[in-house]
């Protein structure tokens, strides 16, 4: 494990994660389909998870990997709730375009 990090360097993992994270952010910002927004958020979370694992290795510490399990569980729970809400929205609105959610404003 040490070797891999020595060969590639922790910075690159960080860059990769940040890149993934940003992709997620841009996905959230530019996509209007709720499902895709969800997925983008998942990308963000997974980018972080990746980084957690990398740091865990870097620090030779298992806690980081344990955290990833928490975070995956939480993400799953979140998505479950999110999808439920989405279904409800779709039932009432017949669309999952987030631009249509404009009843509340002002």
């Amino acid at each position: 494990m040490n070797n891999i990090l020595n060969q590639i360097g922790i910075e690159n993992y960080i860059f990769l994660s940040v890149l993934l994270f940003c992709i997620g952010v841009f996905g959230v910002l530019y996509r209007r389909n709720a499902i895709i927004v969800f997925m983008s958020i998942e990308i963000m979370l997974n980018a972080v998870n990746l980084l957690f694992v990398a740091f865990s290795t870097y620090h030779q510490d298992a806690e980081g990997q344990v955290f990833v399990f928490f975070s995956m569980a939480v993400a799953a729970a979140e998505v479950a709730v999110g999808l439920a809400i989405l279904v409800s929205v779709f039932r009432n609105l017949g669309s999952i375009d987030i631009d249509n959610l404009k009843n509340l404003k002002g």
Partner: protein, 459 residues
């Protein structure tokens, strides 16, 4: 930890109650259970502040967390008490709703008692997910759906940010344990990720307390959610997030760097000003209170500026604000429960048709506006006083100007109650609303008369 465990057990009990068909008893039993937990929490007061090492140092029981826990429990008691009538049309789901509230409380307790960032993250997610559910809980109402959706999207986005922040901190220090991180953070050679991580986490929390410019969700979600959920968000959730932010900052680093204080000052000013000015032109009471909550978030941020000493003040402010919030929401729910909307018009003539509720609402609004003898006054005063001591006179002046603006919209509601004629007969209001509203406002005034009760807890 005992508190957390008992709360979770209570939540489980609530879920089980559904199975055993104990719906009628649910609310009273939960309230009694929460009172018992409050007792436990207060009982812990005597214990020395220590990290509960039995549970892998996940929870720290200190005065700060204990005091805030007690406050959260009190707020939850009120909220649960109100739920009984609020959900009486949805008897089949009542145990779910109440269980979710209790779990939400568990998340809240975890958030202020954490001594490990994992606990912090779990707490915040438990709280948030509960709120997503509650916000969208009126399935057939498109507004509730929209509120849930908006809250969910923005909330999980913020969760992602927080998570990223945690990750960077972990990367920089190699620990999730708060005490260890604090030790390392003051040392030299800390990588640049650490401050970035901190900032990302703080931004996530700023989102949760709805500080500008991360506040956009609040008015929409408050307006769309069922009123009882709005009450939860504007009182419990806001207070929890604020306490957590405070704990996070004071726990992770000993001192804020001046440039970051500047950020807090700007955010505070923005929140106060945007919140107050936007609240002026609102017709929907919940939306108005959402903006008012934004401005209060701005006020509470002042406490961050005198990090080492302001814990008591923050506790006092949050207690005052939340109690006034509970009282006002109790009245708002009572008044609007049959009308289907929360426009100001619903309050026309309340002063004549129901003087007690009108008086309570007036009192709670006055408290939020910071008029003595209500505790809101002392809360603001102490914040200002602390900020002046910390050398932020300018911020205080902005705060005062904002207080003046805020009177404008609080009084709009009061005017509606006392000067306009009622449009329709108001049906009778169940006693529980009176009970909650009056006891919340009495607590508020009691805090106003004896601020030392709370102030001395943490000093």
């Amino acid at each position: 930890m005992q508190v957390l465990i008992t709360i979770v057990s209570l939540g489980v009990f609530c879920l089980l109650a559904e199975i055993f068909n104990l719906r009628k008893l649910l609310v009273p039993v939960t309230v009694i259970g929460l009172l018992a937990i409050l007792g436990i929490s207060l009982n812990l007061w005597a214990i020395d502040p220590s990290i509960d090492s039995n549970y892998a140092s996940m929870i720290a029981v200190d005065k700060f967390s204990n005091a805030f826990n007690s406050l959260f429990i009190v707020l939850t008691i009120f909220l649960v008490a109100l739920s009984g009538d609020f959900y009486k049309e949805h008897q089949t789901k009542i145990s779910d709703f109440i269980a979710i509230k209790v779990f939400l409380l568990a998340g809240a307790v975890a958030m202020v008692s954490f001594s490990n960032l994992a606990m912090f993250f779990l707490g915040i997610e438990v709280l948030s997910i509960s709120l997503y559910v509650l916000a969208a809980s009126k399935r057939l109402d498109i507004k509730s759906n929209e509120a849930g959706m908006k809250y969910f999207l923005l909330g999980s986005f913020a969760s992602g940010i927080i998570l990223f922040g945690i990750c960077l901190i972990y990367g920089a220090t190699g620990y999730f344990n708060v005490a260890e991180i604090k030790d390392l953070s003051s040392g030299a050679g800390i990588p640049v990720w650490f401050p970035i991580g901190m900032v990302l986490m703080i931004i996530g929390m700023l989102f949760k307390i709805a500080a500008a410019p991360f506040h956009f969700w609040a008015p929409d979600v408050y307006e769309g959610s069922p009123s009882i959920t709005t009450a939860t968000m504007s009182t419990l959730a806001k207070v929890v997030a604020m306490a957590t932010l405070y704990k996070l900052l004071s726990g992770l680093s000993s001192e804020l760097i001046p440039t970051f204080e500047m950020v807090i000052v700007v955010v505070s000013i923005l929140s106060m000003t945007i919140g107050n000015i936007m609240a002026l032109r609102q017709d929907n009471v919940k939306r108005m209170l959402a903006f008012s909550g934004i401005s209060h978030a701005g006020f509470m941020l002042m406490a961050i500026l005198s990090l080492s000493t302001a814990a008591g003040t923050l506790l006092y402010y949050t207690a005052a604000y939340a109690l006034a919030g509970i009282a006002s929401f109790a009245v708002i729910i009572a008044v609007t429960r049959d009308s289907g909307n929360e426009l100001t018009e619903n309050f026309n003539g309340l002063g004549k048709s129901n003087p007690l509720l009108a008086a309570v609402l007036t009192a709670s609004l006055l408290s939020m506006a910071g008029i003595p003898i209500f505790s809101g006054f002392f809360a603001k005063f102490m914040l200002f006083s602390d900020a002046i001591k910390a050398g932020y006179l300018f911020l205080v002046i902005v705060g005062v100007i904002n207080s003046i603006i805020s009177v404008g919209y609080y009084f709009k509601l009061i005017l509606a109650m006392y000067t306009k004629e009622a449009s329709a007969e108001k049906p009778a209001v169940p006693a529980v609303y009176y009970l909650v509203a009056v006891s919340a406002i009495v607590l508020n005034i009691a805090l106003g008369l004896y601020p030392s009760l709370v102030m001395n807890l943490l000093n």
